[in-house]
Symmetry: C2
């Protein structure tokens, strides 16, 4: 099983990859056959290629991701983070809670993102 430290490192890399606007860097953190359900209740993306496609949206965004809190239990992590997106004069902030599972190499095997459109703030 991946250690808590390895799992935290993967989540830190995930924040960095989002802030770095690289769908390839995000996709590289996922295991083959991984799923992403974002937000929870929608149809999951399945497999690294579909996940990479989903994350290409970040490449054209002025966006940063910042970890607020993380809890690791077994091969899973739950974490609260802040995504700040600037578009023109406006700043959009959303702070989801994500739950991820990890394989023995601390690659992400699933993501479930808990947030709703009404949680987003605009300033």
């Amino acid at each position: 099983m991946a250690s808590a430290e390895d799992i935290k490192n993967t989540v830190a890399s995930y924040m960095k990859a989002i802030s770095g606007k690289s769908a390839d860097a995000v996709a590289a953190l996922f295991a083959e056959g991984a799923t992403v359900e974002d937000p929870v209740g929608t149809e999951p993306k399945r497999g690294v290629e579909e996940i990479r496609s989903f994350f290409t949206a970040i490449e054209s965004m002025d966006q940063t991701a910042e970890l607020l809190t993380i809890r690791v239990a077994g091969n899973s992590a739950a974490f609260h983070f802040r995504v700040t997106t600037k578009a023109g004069d406006q700043t959009y902030v959303v702070e989801p809670i994500d739950v991820m599972t990890f394989d023995d190499d601390a690659k992400i095997t699933s993501t479930r993102a808990y947030w709703a459109q009404e949680d987003m703030t605009v300033s």
Copy 2:
């Protein structure tokens, strides 16, 4: 499906029931056949009676629970909360992230609690 408001009300009642030291009040929030995996990676408690037994531990504790953040998506909620326990001269604080699912009546059908012993602070 339960509304986001109903789900948030159940979570608020859960905080109140823990702070009120009533295993019965906690158990009453769960649906028949519900499961509690606390922490994630341990064998789940199954059914209201097992859940009630698990929560009898709170009845002898000087403990309060306080909601920090909640995100609702579909019939699920993820939330970060603080449990403060006083025992003698010491104060133990743990801030888990829990994920719950809910039935149409906003009764809890499952709880998965993400935290580890090393997340606990003692002062």
